[in-house]
Point group: none
Chain length 491, copies 2
């Protein structure tokens, strides 16, 4: 029962989020949004509102803010409160003070519709960490400490390589967490993975005359991967050539004349396995023999749940592998920071592509991240999230084993998503069944390279990090309801 | 803190587990494993090792075993131990690949040499605000407030348009401070002026197929302007066509077949005058008649010292003018935030160029800036800096009037720099004289478009915002020493 309140609160919450970000204070915004929801009938007469705590948790506001908003709306007659019975939408809602509320704010033409039309009830799409877990106090403490202690020069034009504090912190962190072998001067800070690809292949905008690209295509990529990366590369004029995958990862022996290959060695995205040790060695040998380079997308390297850490491929040959990482999964995609760990010979070109000054990555954020790492808070956060995500994975696996035992779950030794293998030809109907249960997720087909000739796999990619902690159980329930034999509905 | 050590110890521990089961005793195995971790660079120089207790607990060995192993490795020189400071990896550990590690702390190849070789004693180059004046307490307060109150969703993937809080704050601010006429949904947040140019002309990397640029060249520009902008445009394949200048600004009646013109209407950069009212009207008429667009570089619009504020050209026709601004001059170039105020018809294309998610501008920084503006702190800071810069301008003008009365100072009604007019043919020697006095500054020639046929002006561009407050007097003294008749040296 409690679960469903929480879920309900989240639904109301996600409806209210946009309005809540309006200026003028959270309390006023919440009152306005709730009032509008009642007035428009979105919250029907008699509807019971979620408890303060649930709504507050989901909106990320203080419980008192919700309590105040409810009290105000009770006073205005929009809501009714009865001791012990909770707060309800009044049966006859008429505006007591018509002048009080403004016209509904016009919909923002810039606001993006969620990919599945409306905000889904249960969001199991991959790609986003649990946003409710952002370590606000630790980040704020690091930010304050870093900014208070920083010399004045940090507020001047920044070095495009990134702040030395951050590069030193990353070098040490990546060495111990990922086995990376590098030095601070070979790390270049950027805004994230997409920025790194642009710097490598787009020359920072200088691709017209062809004189400034660091790397050139064609680029071999895994046959399953993020469409966004392929599109970005295509926009830079870089052709991608798909490498087939099997249970040991990409078939790197198919590499021939490409100049570079982009891999996810620690945890193939999205299918989920690590690249086999022999192939790790083989791809580095290939790069050496052909004068080529391996791009290592270390997108979730911190989140490994078994006892066998898969270190970075980069350590096999720091002169042949470019490791690219970011805080998008470990911390938040809202903090626009990533890094490239470069072979010596590329450092100059990447810096030239980046420009004479730091034009991208916020310098205060760089300092804050450096402090977060050095102070141990980053490790602490990663450890906490690892436990949380591991718990979610276990819960997903257990629920499916019980409710949909025909489904094989794979790729779950690491990361923030699982792949549910499906019988051939059933993927589309499974996605649709999920949608009917209010679950948003993607099928494997979304990630398939259009040019690959490998046999298609049917499967669902379940991002188990996306829902907030209290909403996760209901999401798994709904997913099981969609996948259970006979399509049993969840009661 | 203990948490993080435990975590860290666990990570090191899991690296070491395998080796520890080797024959020969735990102590020897631990020593071997740690030595190898240091030797290979997996434990970087300077890394602090976990306390005995944490590592022992995680490895399941006696604390003394860890203590013995550390002691042994300290003796061998791999680790260092200082009373009360813990055990660290020695700074000079023997490299695995001599080619990778430098012998001594080699100079960082990423560190940029200051433009004049060494760091100048007196920096009067334009372009940077007084970095010592960054409003740290106000910024930190806004950052903390904004982040504490933000709903959880701000830590998810961001809307490429920018946070609604910031766009609303900017719309209101730009209306009252610059006379801009717009609405929040027509503002797109970006990383700064260069990013805006790339979004408009480079299509966010999609310029290969020519299908995604928002605007196309050739672009008319002022005959004097920032070389960086011309270079960036050239790299995007955009040809720039110089418009001659006179004392009333750009000769906009020379505009013909260009599709767009980039102007600095409030304060021509670098020569310093505002665009004459008739020309403001004329350029908008031209844009209307030709279906063209005016890019308004509002780089220092807040800093006007006379009593006649020059409002944004944008207000003359919000459908024909794109206004671009940033916090680089008003706050700091280290905070990577700028904005584009767009005609309705470009909003969709600019957002498409920016991508599906916010990949550039830090979302926490966006929230902080919104709070800074809404709370009034931004206005307060700008007011304070306006007074400070006006004081510096007055001091410069007074000093030159006394010490170098033959120099005409111009362009000083606004902004962060002045132009000292020089007799024809004397610019280079004046710059050199300044350098001899330890003063770094640029001559006007640096800013001249290579293709212009207008008569060259000799002059020095003096950025009076760059030095910190206490260093300014000496910088002006040194400059006067360089320019005084007879080249009098400052004692």
């Amino acid at each position: 029962m409690r679960e469903s309140w929480v879920n309900y609160a989240e639904r109301i919450g996600s409806d209210l989020h946009l309005e809540l970000s309006a200026p003028g204070g959270k309390r006023a915004a919440l009152i306005g949004a709730l009032r509008e929801a009642v007035r428009s009938g979105r919250l029907a007469p008699g509807t019971r509102l979620p408890p303060y705590r649930s709504l507050a948790a989901d909106l990320g506001v203080a419980r008192n803010t919700v309590a105040d908003a409810y009290a105000e709306l009770v006073a205005e007659g929009w809501l009714t409160a009865r001791q012990g019975a909770g707060t309800h939408v009044a049966e006859r809602t008429r505006p007591l003070h018509p002048a009080v509320h403004k016209k509904a704010p016009a919909p923002d033409p810039c606001a993006r519709a969620p990919r599945h039309g409306r905000s889904p009830r249960h969001d199991l799409r991959q790609g986003t960490p649990d946003v409710s877990a952002f370590p606000r106090p630790a980040w704020l403490a690091s930010y304050r400490r870093a900014l208070s202690q920083a010399p004045n020069e940090v507020f001047g034009p920044g070095d495009p390589a990134g702040r030395p504090e951050l590069r030193a912190a990353l070098a040490a962190y990546l060495a111990r967490a990922r086995g990376v072998r590098t030095e601070p001067h070979r790390i270049v800070v950027c805004s994230g993975f997409a920025h790194a690809l642009r710097l490598l292949f787009g020359g920072g905008g200088g691709n017209r005359d062809g004189g400034r690209q660091v790397l050139r295509g064609p680029l071999a990529v895994e046959a399953y991967g993020l469409p966004f990366h392929r599109e970005l590369l295509a926009a830079e004029g870089v052709r991608t050539v798909p490498l087939p995958l099997d249970e040991h990862g990409a078939l790197v022996d198919r590499l021939t004349r490409e100049r570079a290959v982009l891999l996810t060695p620690a945890h193939q995205f999205p299918t989920g396995g690590p690249l086999h040790a022999e192939r790790r060695a083989a791809v580095v040998d290939w790069a050496r023999a052909r004068g080529a380079v391996v791009l290592e997308d270390d997108y979730d390297g911190e989140f490994r749940y078994d006892r066998r850490p898969v270190g970075a491929l980069q350590s096999l040959d720091p002169e042949r592998v470019i490791l690219i990482g970011s805080v998008s999964k470990s911390l938040s995609p809202a903090v626009r920071l990533g890094w490239m760990v470069l072979p010596e010979r590329y450092v100059g070109d990447v810096l030239a592509a980046k420009g004479e000054r730091e034009a991208w990555a916020s310098v205060p954020d760089q300092l804050a991240l450096a402090d977060l790492i050095v102070s141990g808070s980053y490790d602490r956060h990663v450890r906490r999230m690892r436990q949380r995500y591991r718990g979610r994975r276990d819960r997903l696996v257990a629920a499916l084993a019980e409710r949909a035992p025909h489904i094989q779950v794979s790729g779950v030794a690491a990361g923030l998503h699982a792949v549910l293998r499906l019988p051939p030809g059933t993927e589309r109907s499974a996605v649709e069944a999920a949608v009917r249960q209010g679950v948003a997720l993607d099928g494997l087909a979304e990630f398939r390279h259009p040019d690959t000739d490998m046999a298609a796999h049917d499967g669902l990619v379940v991002g188990y990090a996306t829902p907030s902690e209290h909403a996760y159980g209901a999401a798994v329930e709904a997913l099981c309801g969609a996948l259970a034999p006979g399509g049993t509905r969840v009661s």
